[in-house]
């Protein structure tokens, strides 16, 4: 099969599982609701690996062929024909939206990551969610989510991408609100939906701006080519890029719209692992990576992206330092790591775009493994502790849950970026990009150097809070909360196997594809047409040759590792007994600020939610005023009718009399007036 056919089969398989799962509930087979999901994800995963191989061997696929359906009156009544140009979804005036797919290294890597991680998370969920109400609902939405995510990743058309983008948003809303009877979960779901919607408004505006600036094309590749040839005005391009970035900020939880992500942890843990760590939240990163040919032309937007990423990374890491909810720590670390990816994307244009994008996507790739692993590990802990996830309430679980302990440790080490683990290679590449940008950027060297220092500091903080969570959970004397009862135990095999698989992934993926002098991942990714285009623009504008691959910088790697080791050592010194430690007086204000999440929720409450509520109350009152006016107008006819109503008294004779009298008047008129 060609790579396009493989991609289409992946989408069809996932759609089929989405439809099949609820049917099982109808057949009273809810217990087996995980089968279509796991099977569908596994098939999709294998197919996307084949697609990855095809793309690797044969290069990106060309335009997507379309299907045309010809209906006729004679047998066989319809005829499917393959066309050269993609199938049109809809078109109205100048807007023409087609089903065109981008089959290139970037989408192939994303597709393989998404489906692979999703498969193991689905296996884990079949154990974790066992016996929950709405088991079928859970797997149906999971299938729909993976389908939408794959659509998002594969789309080469802005509107198709938007369809996937909104689809994953919807699934996220449904899954965060999975325990919809719980008020906090319902509120979190609403918050997640509304906050991301804020970013999406910008995204849609950006799409339309690009549509009008890009020769009324909707295909990404066509827009890029058009803007390349007829250079658009700088103002338009800046606005479009900022609007796209606005969408990415909402989806990928960057400052100031990150507030929904920590609350989204109200959903079941596998959902946090799949949607709010490994896949959906990286959609913004993916979008910016795919639009690199646009972003490379607007260096000052890049500065803004880089700074946003840096601020988000350090701020989220700062908050994570003192949180006590294991899942929230991981959520803030996700926000922080996404910040890292945006830092790397912010260097597109300051350094060779292919290298900056590769750094971001590579971090996305490794992050998907170790963050999914960490979330599943925390889910395993939560499962054993009877739903308790507060790290103050338990400790010393390493003997009780050996497999979870080892895999969680691997995840922590990868997240902290300890040498040779996957997180190390990707974090190092990002640091390297920033360092490089600090040396080679044309105008903003100081800023890039500042962001580089922020990234280093964040690396230290990351190691500290990660290992703080690890020590508090697994070290010290064994304490188990009451909720766990007497049956606190290691998780069943169906939950252990995904942990082990992902842990192996977290250890080896970095080493396998991107270690020291081998840069297979970066080189492969650089063959993506969009990124090639960005490279060409970079070469033209900077009048240099683009670098073919990153080179391992011992100095930067050393600095990153030192920061991580310092953080690890601090965590070991403070928390190795598995107990919380008192905060020295001098750090109290900072500690409070971090514990209260920087008061960002309160600030939002004050400057956005409250005024909105006041405005809503005012509008409601005004609406009431209008309503009463309308009711008054409607009252006047009723008032007159009150005089006439007694005539309708229900007596047949009375009506007959009325008719007779009327007839009499009529007859009188005819006889004495008309006939004269």
């Amino acid at each position: 099969m060609s790579s396009t056919a493989l991609a289409l089969t992946v989408l069809a398989t996932l759609l089929a599982s989405t439809i099949l799962t609820p049917l099982l509930a109808q057949l009273r087979l809810s217990r087996y609701a995980h089968f279509p999901a796991i099977l569908g994800f596994a098939i999709a995963s294998v197919l996307s690996l084949f697609m990855l191989r095809d793309v690797f061997l044969l290069g990106p696929a060309g335009t997507t062929p379309g299907l045309s359906l010809d209906l006729s009156g004679t047998y066989p009544f319809f005829d499917l024909n393959l066309k050269e140009s993609p199938t049109v979804w809809f078109h109205a005036g100048l807007l023409k939206v087609t089903f065109s797919l981008a089959i290139d290294p970037l989408s192939a890597i994303m597709l393989a990551t998404v489906t692979f991680v999703a498969t193991w998370i689905a296996v884990f969920s079949s154990g974790y969610m066992h016996g929950e109400d709405g088991y079928t609902r859970f797997f149906t939405i999971m299938c729909l989510f993976v389908f939408c995510m794959c659509l998002l990743v594969l789309a080469d058309n802005f509107f198709l991408l938007l369809a996937g983008w909104e689809g994953v948003g919807l699934c996220s809303y449904l899954l965060v609100g999975y325990y919809y009877a719980k008020p906090s979960a319902a509120a979190a779901a609403r918050k997640a939906f509304l906050v991301t919607r804020l970013g999406d408004v910008g995204f849609v505006l950006g799409i339309f701006l690009l549509w009008s600036a890009g020769g009324y094309h909707t295909d990404l590749s066509a827009i890029f080519a058009h803007i390349q040839q007829h250079s658009a005005s700088h103002g338009t391009l800046t606005a479009a890029c900022l609007l796209l970035f606005c969408g990415a900020v909402g989806k990928s939880a960057q400052l100031p719209l990150y507030v929904w992500l920590p609350d989204a942890m109200e959903g079941p843990t596998p959902v946090s692992a799949l949607i709010h760590a490994a896949t959906m939240v990286t959609a913004g990163v993916y979008l910016l990576a795919r639009c690199a040919p646009l972003f490379v032309q607007v260096p000052y937007v890049q500065i803004y992206i880089c700074a946003t990423g840096g601020l988000t990374a350090i701020f989220a890491a700062f908050i994570a330092l003192t949180q006590t909810d294991l899942k929230r720590i991981l959520a803030y670390s996700t926000v922080s790591q996404l910040g890292y990816m945006f830092m790397a994307l912010g260097t597109v244009g300051a350094i060779t775009p292919s290298i900056a994008v590769a750094a971001a996507i590579f971090h996305l790739f490794t992050h998907a493994f170790f963050k999914a692993l960490l979330f599943l590990g925390s889910g395993s802990v939560m499962h054993a502790m009877g739903g308790v996830i507060d790290i103050r309430k338990f400790s010393g679980l390493r003997k009780l849950m050996p497999v979870t302990h080892i895999t969680f440790l691997i995840g922590c080490a990868a997240l902290a970026g300890l040498p040779l683990l996957s997180g190390f290679w990707s974090k190092d590449q990002i640091l390297d990009s920033l360092h490089h940008a600090g040396e080679h950027s044309l105008h903003y060297r100081v800023l890039y150097e500042g962001v580089f220092l922020v990234a280093l500091l964040t690396a230290g903080l990351t190691a500290f809070y990660t290992f703080r969570a690890y020590f508090l959970t697994f070290w010290g004397e064994e304490r188990i909360p009451e909720e766990a009862g007497h049956h606190a135990h290691e998780s069943p095999r169906v939950m252990r196997v995904p942990l082990i698989v992902l842990a192996v992934g977290a250890v080896i993926v970095g080493l396998a594809v991107e270690s020291f002098t081998r840069h297979g991942f970066s080189k492969f990714l650089a063959t993506t047409p969009a990124i090639q285009m960005a490279n060409k623009t970079y070469e033209r504008e900077h009048n240099v040759r683009s670098q073919s691959s990153p080179h391992f910088n011992w100095k930067v790697a050393g600095m990153g590792t030192t920061a991580a080791l310092l953080g690890l050592a601090a965590a070991f010194a403070l928390y190795r007994r598995g107990e919380m430690v008192a905060v020295p007086a001098i750090l109290k204000p900072a500690h409070g600020l971090s514990l209260n999440k920087g008061y960002v929720d309160e600030i939002f409450q004050g400057i956005i939610v409250k005024p909105a509520e006041i405005a809503a109350t005012g509008t409601r009152q005004f609406d009431g005023l209008l309503d009463s006016l309308a009711r008054f107008v409607a009252f006047i006819p009723r008032l007159f009718a009150a005089f006439l109503r007694p005539l309708q008294n229900g007596l047949v004779q009375f009506y007959a009399l009325g008719m007779v009298l009327g007839l009499a008047v009529f007859a009188f008129f005819i006889v004495f007036k008309v006939s004269r």
Partner: protein, 138 residues
């Protein structure tokens, strides 16, 4: 010589009698009979004019009306029986609950005091004469 005026006056009398009966009586069956009377008055008009103009269209129309009246009688009786079965009464004022909401019910200030009678499933007209006396020993 009987002129058209004679016919017309009989028709007018019939119609007036029917009208008065319809307006004054509350028994559904009697009201229906009165309505029939009015119809026949009108039909008589048609026949009179047919004779006066010496063509048959009026006659044909009269026959037609009689046929329709027969159908209508069947329908009306079926309705009356159905209504009786619901209320056990032939009084048309019992059905005044189809009036406009909020309008008070009309109450007859000096209603007839009806002797309690054994209510049959279907309405029966009052007996046409005296009930035959029972003869002892038979």
């Amino acid at each position: 010589m009987i002129s058209v005026w004679h016919f017309l006056s009989v028709a007018a009398v019939l119609f007036a009698l029917g009208l008065i009966g319809f307006l004054t009586r509350r028994n559904l069956i009697t009201m229906f009979l009165s309505a029939e009377l009015m119809i026949q008055g009108v039909v008589l008009n048609l026949l009179a004019f047919a004779r006066f103009h010496a063509n048959l269209s009026g006659q044909a129309f009269g026959l037609f009306v009689i046929a329709v009246a027969a159908c209508e009688a069947g329908l009306a009786m079926a309705l009356i029986i159905a209504m009786y079965r619901r209320t056990k009464s032939l009084d048309s004022s019992v059905w005044q609950n189809l009036r406009e909401t909020g309008v008070p019910a009309t109450i007859d200030p000096d209603a007839l005091i009806q002797p309690p009678l054994e209510l049959a499933d279907d309405p029966k007209l009052p007996a046409a004469g005296k009930k035959p006396q029972e003869v002892a020993g038979v």
